[in-house]
């Protein structure tokens, strides 16, 4: 069996999700990796180390930067040429977007965010497990397709080295000049620093915080611990904080060492964005709140009193240790 893996990269930098897609493809058969744009040519070594026996390098002027229509068209043409048994991509914004274009062009079904993949036996359907509700629910589904087009859910497969020798093949698609219409024309680079998605500590506030001003003690605690503030959708919906701080299904997935969930009830759509945290500490007046019963640790009480008390205790211990040291 030949499986095409569409490699995700940002101007030549491989995404970790791509390694997961390669890991998902390897047990199925020979892995044909596809890199799009000359900027990705240097990825051969990394791809071979993760089991790609062939690397198809797709080259065209219109592929110099990302453009969903052009990427989709290029992959669709290559898939038509190679006629693989399946195509797998990353279940990321880009991966899902490119495969959806391929599916639309080839008029094939597409199954997004799979966590398990079982190829067809005796001409039957492919058997798949995929996530729904951003990961709160699992679905078993069957796929009947000339070319199964799949993306894999984040963290469902573990990227690990499995070195092979890779053959490199160039492919130049025929792309209409009009596809330039949906290419990236400009970028605003992100300022360096801790982001919600990568912070080691997140201090999250929900409706229980009560107002934008009342987030100040949460900011203070986050700053003391080198972390950042997050929030629930109730907070962004009230206009108390920017959506960039929202944790959850339609916000950011966080994975800190510790998540403080203050005045957050723990709705499933919030939980699904927070559940990858190593430890969760809930601070809530309601001992029966879902966040409290699911957390590793909890303090029952008014966050407006508990959060400042924690910050004060940290300061107290820091001064007393520095007194000891001097």
């Amino acid at each position: 069996m030949n499986v095409v893996v569409v490699v995700e990269h940002d101007r030549g930098a491989l995404s970790s999700a791509s390694l997961e897609a390669l890991a998902a493809a390897r047990p199925l058969g020979a892995v044909l990796a596809v890199t799009i744009g000359a900027g990705a040519d240097l990825l051969i070594g990394q791809l071979a180390a993760h089991g790609a026996s062939t690397v198809h390098q797709v080259h065209h002027d219109l592929l110099a930067d990302y453009g969903p229509e052009a990427w989709g068209e290029a992959v669709a043409q290559l898939v038509t040429l190679l006629a693989p048994d399946a195509v797998i991509a990353t279940g990321t914004d880009r991966g899902n977007e490119v495969i959806a274009h391929v599916a639309a062009i080839l008029d094939q079904p597409m199954v997004a965010n799979c966590t398990a993949i079982e190829p067809a036996a005796d001409g039957g359907p492919w058997k798949l497990i995929r996530v729904r509700w951003g990961g709160s629910l699992l679905e078993r589904c069957e796929l009947t397709a000339a070319t199964p087009l799949l993306t894999v859910a984040h963290h469902a497969f573990e990227g690990s080295p499995s070195p092979v020798e890779a053959t490199v093949v160039e492919f130049v698609p025929e792309l209409d000049a009009s596809l330039a219409r949906s290419m990236v024309i400009d970028r605003v680079e992100r300022a360096a620093g801790v982001t919600l998605g990568t912070a080691p500590v997140v201090v999250g506030g929900g409706r229980g915080v009560g107002s934008p001003e009342a987030f100040a003690p949460l900011e203070d605690l986050a700053a003391l611990l080198g972390g950042v503030v997050g929030c629930s959708r109730a907070v962004t919906n009230n206009g108390w904080r920017n959506h960039t701080d929202q944790v959850g299904q339609t916000g950011t997935r966080i994975a800190p060492d510790l998540y403080f969930a203050c005045g957050i009830s723990g709705a499933i759509q919030h939980w699904v964005g927070a559940m990858a945290s190593k430890k969760i500490l809930a601070i809530n007046t309601d001992p029966d709140a879902n966040m409290v019963t699911k957390a590793d640790y909890a303090v029952i009480g008014d966050l407006h009193k508990v959060v400042p008390a924690i910050a004060a205790e940290i300061r107290r211990r820091r001064t007393s240790t520095s007194v000891l040291v001097t």
Binding site: A112, V131, R317
Partner: protein, 257 residues
């Protein structure tokens, strides 16, 4: 400017999502219904586009008769026209949904003129197939970019500047109209309906366009909840007196050095 926004009626679960005994659907016996936050933002974006550039917005859904509720919610916010593609029984697969929506849009445009902007959510809240908008745009031969968190009409109304988040920052696109976009929550802060809006929405005539598309290749077999490790929560204390226990924990976890 003519703007169309497509939304999907979904249940609004709270602490957990319960499944019916046959594993075929979410148990909605005790649930209200809503649309994806991405789609709420797409509705707001449609209303804002019309406020800024004139014209009218239309909302469209494929779903059960009860999806009238989501159409009227959009109408209460300022969307002038509503279209229901009524279906019975379980959800349609994404291919089938997209072809039905594409056909309906083509029919509406043939009668009333083309939409300058068509908005979808980035993904539906429940099935999250990440594809219906892209399939529809391709069928209509129009450009589409997903994940949009900012839009601005430029070039005397001939094109649109769209921004989206990427790992390294914001990507900027400039797309000619007519255009299709997949919108993400955060693009705006959706307004709440006014009493006047609610009353007006009751009078909106919902156009019915029964769809005929055939099933695609993806078939749902069963749904279930991922197993969660049952964790006994350690209660560190009550009120501010718990602070020393919390800070002990921070030290134990190596968070406070």
């Amino acid at each position: 400017m003519r703007v169309l926004v497509c939304v999907k009626r979904v249940p609004a679960p709270g602490a957990r999502i319960n499944i019916t005994a046959d594993g075929q659907a979410v148990d909605t016996a005790f649930l209200g219904f809503t649309m994806s936050p991405h789609e709420e933002c797409a509705v707001e974006a449609a209303v804002q586009l019309v406020e800024q550039h004139g014209g009218a917005a239309t909302v469209l859904t494929l779903g059960p008769a009860e999806a009238d509720e989501q159409l009227r919610y959009a109408a209460s916010l300022g969307v002038a026209e509503a279209v229901l593609l009524p279906i019975d029984g379980p959800d349609w697969d994404p291919q089938r949904t997209a072809s039905a929506i594409g056909e309906a849009i083509a029919a509406i445009e043939a009668a009333d003129g083309a939409f300058d902007v068509i908005l979808f959510g980035n993904e539906s809240a429940d099935s999250g197939g990440f594809q219906v908008g892209i399939r529809v745009a391709r069928a209509l031969g129009r450009p589409i970019v997903n994940g949009i968190k900012g839009i601005e009409i430029v070039g005397d109304g001939t094109s649109l500047r769209a921004r989206r988040d990427a790992e390294s920052g914001m990507e900027v696109y400039e797309l000619p109209l007519p255009v299709v976009l997949g919108v993400k929550e955060g693009i705006n802060l959706p307004r709440y309906p006014t009493l006047k809006g609610r009353l007006a929405s009751k009078k909106v005539a919902v156009a019915l366009m029964p769809p005929t598309a055939v099933a695609g290749g993806q078939q749902m077999v069963t749904l279930w909840q991922p197993t969660e490790q049952a964790s006994a929560t350690v209660i560190l204390g009550t009120g501010p007196e718990a602070a020393p226990a919390v800070v002990d924990l921070l030290e134990e976890l190596g968070i406070l050095k």
